[in-house]
Symmetry: C2
Subunit: 155 residues, 2 copies
DNA sequence: GCTTGATCTGGAGCTGGCTCCAGGATGCAG
DNA sequence: CTGCATCCTGGAGCCAGCTCCAGATCAAGC
């Protein structure tokens, strides 16, 4: 059976991405542009399928396309480089988790205040957001996570 | 002491944001454009300072500007609406935390495989990202196949 | 009076990761 | 042969949330 040439459309289907995504990856250098057929169509090696899948999986782990470009470079070099990048990413993820946990705590406190606040016309959430010093809780020990909390935001 | 009019620059300082941010908030309707002085300068009410701080604090809790527009509307209405929005956001945050925790787990496993993998030329992280079925955790099978490795990194 | 700095309008540019479009050439099925 | 799908190039648009710019006007300090 003669295989049909792996054109961009078929590649896209095989790798489960949009054709435009492939073109985009070419533009930014994540995929090398292949030779063209006589008719001017790009014909891909089937290994590109794996490369695209690699990219997509790495994205799911929180790597940016730039990160991934480095990963792919390192992949040709030594394991240590890759592991190092993974460790950096792991640390970033852990910071994100902490920030979000702190946000969650604040939101929970605000919501519970709201529930217990009776029928006051003055919403404790709105109040808290308006006040000069943001409180994270009315229960004691609220100040502890204030720093993590601010680190969640980029001005 | 006669107060100088609260122009956009002084407002920006007071609220600790960029002048352009205020203009932007006006453009998208988060801040109502105030009347202008005879010279054509906008003069703000000091309450706008609180409004901007509100916005900034809500952003730190993960609300988008659109969310915040709703919050500000609701704030003028009833507490229940605000609490509901906070609860929705809380759920979103919790999903994000779970996702990140799962990513963290995967990364940790990959890194530890890498550490125990000895001096294999074949990086288990790269392999794992290349394989057809993404594994999220496993200790065995970190050895095999050089083909996947090259197929992701070559093209 | 001159200089510096703040303000105005409006529009463009930035980041990341796509996604879409126009207009033309080609491949394939009926 | 016709018609539609697919391909090409190149450039624009989209999201959010700003940020910056040009060129004009105006205010405040020395």
């Amino acid at each position: 059976m003669t295989q049909r040439p792996l054109t961009i459309g078929r590649l896209a289907k095989a790798a489960e991405v949009n054709v435009e995504t492939i073109r985009y990856y070419q533009r930014v250098g994540l995929i090398v542009e292949p030779l063209k057929s006589l008719e001017g169509f790009r014909v891909y090696s089937s290994e590109v399928i794996n490369r695209i899948r690699f990219i997509k999986r790495a994205q799911k782990l929180g790597f940016s396309l730039q990160d991934i470009a480095h990963l792919l470079e390192s992949g040709e070099g030594h394991c240590n480089d890759v592991r190092e990048q993974a460790e950096v990413k792991l640390k970033q993820i852990e910071v994100q988790i902490k920030d979000l946990q702190s946000i969650r705590k604040t939101l929970k406190n605000l919501i519970s205040e709201c529930n217990t606040g009776g029928e006051s016309e003055c919403c404790p959430i709105v109040q808290s957001l308006t006040e000069n010093s943001a409180r994270t809780s009315t229960k004691k020990g609220a100040g502890a996570n204030r720093q993590d909390f601010t680190s969640a935001t980029k001005y």
